[in-house]
Symmetry: C2
Subunit: 426 residues, 2 copies
């Protein structure tokens, strides 16, 4: 018998029917002999609707009240799931963040967990209940409700798993695990049986939306095993854990892509000391998260500076540059919203020379132009035209020996559909 945490996201609890299915699933896990704790997100689009209501009464709502408002979403789904379990003759008890002992700092809207006291959950387990915990929320030292921000419910699940010393934290979603590439753009993608925390973090950072980085970071820090699996099938998914059981490590674990960024180029920048610093200080001061930065070689005293940033930061970037560009006497600003970042990820990369060369050659032979490059010890990212992103993923997947013999039949998505899919909520 093992002790497991099962986390279900907003899509899995979006309707009464789906909540009933989640209840069935939890009961089946219990019937298999496990002790089970559920963690749930808010139903479907509830959080967006609450944010909309708040914006309609106050364009800049106080964060304390915002957290009190948003936390109701998970309270609704936790109660409904507990009821659905009881309807099938099993005992269930719902827990708010407060009751689940999730104590955070007081940074409303993006609180960090400072301690977890799972005594009440363990007591409920001992008494035969299936505890159902509201994700995404906690309380601060003053007893005020806080929310954990993006990725909050996954993080709650991992924190509860740590708190009760669970054998595994199962995170159910509409994908059945972590793939060597997005199967919607790469028909030969393989589902990974397991992946290390480091690789998973790089994959998430590079645009693989399966697990929230923050939850993976928490899991790595406290050595919690995550099992990412499908809410709609019983197939095993992907285990995220320390190290790797394979004898020989693959050089590349997977290929991620991300179409949620845009490229901004400042042209005709005078090549003088401190100019780049001025640009990027101003951007940082206006909360623009610049990702990759490229500066061309100077030509007659002028240069071009490009950077990528999330599409959501573009308005702030434009506003910042409209002030800075005249100041530094640059010529103009170009925006390219049609780009994609494609990343090779693998801890094996550290000990294998030539990965970059092979990647560039592969893309060059396929006629794909590289607009920018950035690297980490276990990741190589290139920016390409969005229209060539899928082809780049497929070519690299083949070149690095990742192709499966099975071919995915699923309909391939357009760049827009992929972008929409990538920008999904917590």
């Amino acid at each position: 018998m093992s002790l497991i945490v099962c986390k279900f996201g907003g899509t899995s609890v979006a309707s009464p029917e789906r909540i009933r299915n989640v209840a069935k699933r939890l009961i089946r896990r219990k019937q298999e002999g496990h002790q089970v704790v559920a963690v749930v997100s808010a139903m479907g689009k509830t959080t967006d609707e609450l944010v909309g209501l708040a914006a309609a009464v106050n364009p800049n709502p106080p964060t304390r009240e915002m957290d009190r408002l948003l936390s109701t979403g998970e309270q609704v789904s936790m109660s409904l799931l507990a009821m659905a379990i009881e309807a099938r003759g099993y005992s269930a008890m719902s827990f708010t963040g407060r009751q689940a002992g999730i104590v955070t700092d007081n940074t409303h809207n993006k609180a960090k967990i400072v301690s977890v006291d799972s005594k009440r959950i363990l007591d409920a387990l001992d008494a035969g209940y299936i505890p159902v915990v509201a994700g995404f929320q906690g309380i601060d030292a003053n007893g005020d409700i806080t929310t954990l921000g993006r990725g909050g419910s996954d993080t709650t699940a991992v924190a509860v798993a740590w708190g009760i010393n669970a054998d595994v934290c199962e995170i159910y979603s509409d994908v059945d695990g972590v793939y060597s590439a997005d199967p919607r753009v790469c028909p030969h993608a393989r589902k990974l049986d397991e992946i290390s925390y480091d690789d998973m973090l790089e994959m998430s950072a590079a645009g693989s939306g399966v697990l929230q980085m923050r939850a993976v970071e928490f899991a790595r820090k406290f050595n919690v095993v995550i099992h990412s699996r499908s809410a709609f099938s019983d197939a095993e998914g992907t285990y995220v854990k320390e190290g790797c059981d394979m004898m020989e490590e693959a050089v590349i674990t997977g290929i991620a892509h991300d179409t949620s960024e845009v490229k901004v180029t400042v042209r005709g920048v005078p090549d003088a000391t401190g100019v780049a610093a001025k640009v990027f200080s101003a951007l940082a001061g206006n909360a623009v998260n610049t990702d990759m930065i490229i500066q061309n070689i100077s030509d007659e005293g002028f240069t071009d500076i490009s950077f990528t940033c999330p599409a959501g930061d573009l308005a702030r970037a434009k506003e910042t540059l409209s002030r800075v560009v005249p100041e530094i006497k640059a010529r103009e600003v170009d925006i390219d919203e049609s780009i994609a970042k494609v990343s090779l990820v693998g801890t094996g990369m550290k000990s294998t020379p030539g990965v970059a060369a092979r990647a560039f050659t592969t893309l060059g032979e396929a006629g794909i132009n590289i607009l920018a490059i950035s690297t980490s010890p276990i990741r190589l990212s290139v920016v390409v035209d969005a229209g060539q992103a899928a082809e780049a993923v497929r070519q690299l997947h083949t070149a690095f020996g990742l192709d499966s013999e099975d071919v995915f039949e699923e309909t391939q998505l357009s760049a827009e559909e992929i972008a929409a899919k990538m920008n999904k909520g917590r």
Copy 2:
């Protein structure tokens, strides 16, 4: 400067725009020099929607989880109202039932208040905040969330008013006070400047939907002055308080009517000892709230027994009688769903003989047939055909000298519309 509680119902907070209006109203009260505490219901139909979701996952949801689910409705409106107040530059702080110190027994779904500790609200007032309290909810001794059932938010408001020793508890709604009769059926109805607790309770019990009986009972017990007034105008409403400032008490305070009951007649009942007891014990055992009971004089050993009950209890009444009628060898059951109860209410009635005679004469001369009669020391109720209810109210209103010289221009409602209006929620 006075200390006031302002309670706003679901209709008053049904949309962001209305919530902004409530915020303006509260701020105006504060600008007038008052200390203000708000109490709110859930937005519009929220509670009904949550009940529907629960029913969809569990036809018989556990009451503890039901309370946890329903309490989210008021948590949403309290946060939004606090945000709306802050948007106008005033400080506000929301309070759940727990934080407002509303402690109840553990009868989930219809908990009774056992104590009120308003220290946190008083502290917030001292610190310059407008406290916004979630109505309808409390916690039991175990710290579990409870809800107060029908009339809960009005009761919260009165309890908070008592807890902070407020000068008055203002209950805002879509009517501008208590009237001598429903102005929609009686164009000469007068708004009462004040009414005693006793008269108000009888009016409420007799179908006047302005205030919830339970809140009035609480107010009477702890001597809290209620001011029932319009959410949409600044006009003074009706004060509900002990005694009456008038030199001479009116015989009749007002005329209430109620179209939410049905009449059930069991025909051909053998006139034997214990038969009526058998019928009404069975009905009580099946949670049918019988109101008025009439038994005809026996005719050749058989009699008819009639009673009225809420329309919502009719299905249970039919089911009960289908078992009892064969057992007592009665002939048949007749249902009349088209009835109305019209009640004269007034503490002055106690000391004035002849009220019943005048009422019966008035109705008789107007050709209105009386189907049943019941009385209390300060109330006289008659059951009439629903189609004649409005005429009965108008005739009695004139006969007992209640007519105002002003005439209401408002469209008169049909019996169905009145019935719908009467059955409104908490």
